[in-house]
């Protein structure tokens, strides 16, 4: 976003979803733009109005719709719909928020489960055959699963997504060629990155890392940080933060 142009509704909504982080790229504009501060205030009022007037009278119908969407909830629905649709829809809706994670019978972890310092976050999606599901901490993934990434970034800068295995091997996912971090512009409503990554046959724990900086950086810097971090932490499970100054978020998954 240029200094002259006010952010679009989409940008402001993405800013909202990120929790209006204090170091977001929009903050400089907001500080000097009374109109946009008024737009945010109007959003606060709209949220209050929704909670007061809409949420209480519409939630029951939505819950009922969710119940109907679950497989097995009704024999007709079961007959008329693909078996996995309800499961996928249910799981999907959790991650529509970009902030929630659910697995049946377990308490959801904190909303910002893969948050970058500054409030941005990374959603990870997996496709296994016809099933699409969000990937949360400790997810069990298989060879052939396709992964897709939806980053919410705090502003313009440089971004890289990598995986690190238990031996410290770093594999670049985005940009796929590795090398230098990809230049990114302010968020455009959290679209998914193009393309997907197919998991290979290797097994064991892996950490998916979103790395972000306002300066350029290269894969070599990430590899050095991973090696240093693994030596210090002793295991990939214990290595939640790479040493260095890159803003980051990580997600431990298991390939089986």
């Amino acid at each position: 976003m240029s200094a002259e142009r006010c952010p679009s509704e989409l940008e402001l909504d993405a800013f909202e979803l990120a929790g209006r982080p204090a170091d977001h790229g929009l903050q400089a504009h907001l500080a000097g733009c009374g109109r946009c501060r008024a737009r945010l205030a109007e959003r606060d009022q709209a949220r209050e109005r929704f909670v007061r007037e809409v949420y209480p009278v519409t939630l029951a119908a939505l819950e009922a719709a969710g119940e109907r969407a679950r497989p097995g909830a009704g024999w007709l629905a079961w007959l008329l719909r693909p078996a996995l649709l309800g499961v996928a829809a249910g799981v999907l809706l959790l991650s529509l928020a970009g902030l929630l994670w659910w697995r049946g019978g377990e308490d959801p972890p904190p909303a910002s489960y893969v948050g970058v310092k500054g409030g941005a976050s990374l959603q990870v999606w997996a496709r296994r055959g016809e099933r699409v599901f969000p990937v949360g901490p400790g997810a069990r993934l298989r060879a052939g699963d396709l992964l897709r990434f939806v980053p919410l970034l705090p502003g313009p800068g440089y971004m890289m997504i990598v995986s690190v295995d238990a031996r410290g091997k770093v594999s670049p996912y985005h940009p796929p060629a590795g090398g230098r971090a990809a230049a990114v512009r302010p968020p455009l409503g959290a679209p998914a990155l193009p393309g997907s990554i197919e998991l290979d046959e290797s097994r064991g724990p892996e950490r998916l890392w979103l790395l972000f900086s306002t300066r350029e950086f290269e894969l070599g810097e990430v590899e050095a940080a991973a090696a240093e971090g693994l030596r210090a932490a002793g295991s990939l499970e214990a290595l939640a933060v790479l040493p260095g100054e890159l803003e980051q978020a990580s997600l431990l998954v298991w390939k089986e």
Binding site: C6, E16, C33, A65, R70, L85, P108, R127
Partner: protein, 171 residues
């Protein structure tokens, strides 16, 4: 997904969708119904779209399409919906001839919504109500930026002619 999950999700994203529906429909009860419908559709159809697009663009597209269709249905309770939308007070801010001209152009574009095809109407809303860039619109709609630019130019040309015919705005 259990009831708690749905409730949490709805609290998080519902305000964004409801605000959008209210801005488009300008009718509290219709906006409430539309918000509920957007989420019901999400429950039924969202997995593939989410995989391809991400949550916010998907919600924008579904909510916008739903509201525009309801406005154009011209049901009795919506009979003045398009006029209310076009006359909406949100502006680019500031004062003076430039701001007035922007508001006049906006009213003209949004006043044409009932005459536009689905894509053109959605593009007009995104450009003139949401103030989205052509790149953002392309991302939400899954069309190329070039296509967005062409369709938007046609809409704006229609609006310019309409303003000329009304004797307002610049030629």
């Amino acid at each position: 997904m259990d009831r708690d999950d749905i409730a949490r999700l709805y609290r998080e994203l519902g305000p964004l969708v409801h605000r959008r529906c209210l801005r488009l429909l300008r009718h509290p009860e219709n906006a409430r119904d539309a918000t509920q419908e957007v989420f019901v559709r999400a429950l039924r159809h969202a997995p593939e779209l989410m995989w391809d697009r991400g949550c916010l663009p998907w919600l924008y597209r579904v909510a916008t399409n739903l509201c525009l269709n309801r406005l154009r249905d011209r049901r009795p309770e919506d009979s003045e919906g398009l006029e209310r939308l076009a006359a909406g007070g949100e502006g680019a801010g500031g004062a003076g001839p430039a701001a007035e001209d922007w508001l006049s152009a906006r009213r003209a574009v949004l006043g044409l919504l009932g005459q536009l095809d689905d894509d053109a109407a959605q593009i007009a809303v995104h450009a003139w109500m949401d103030e989205m860039t052509q790149e953002e619109i392309a991302g939400v709609m899954g069309l190329s930026r070039k296509t967005i630019g062409k369709k938007l130019a046609r809409v704006e040309e229609l609006a310019r002619r309409w303003r000329e015919a009304q004797g307002g705005g610049e030629a």
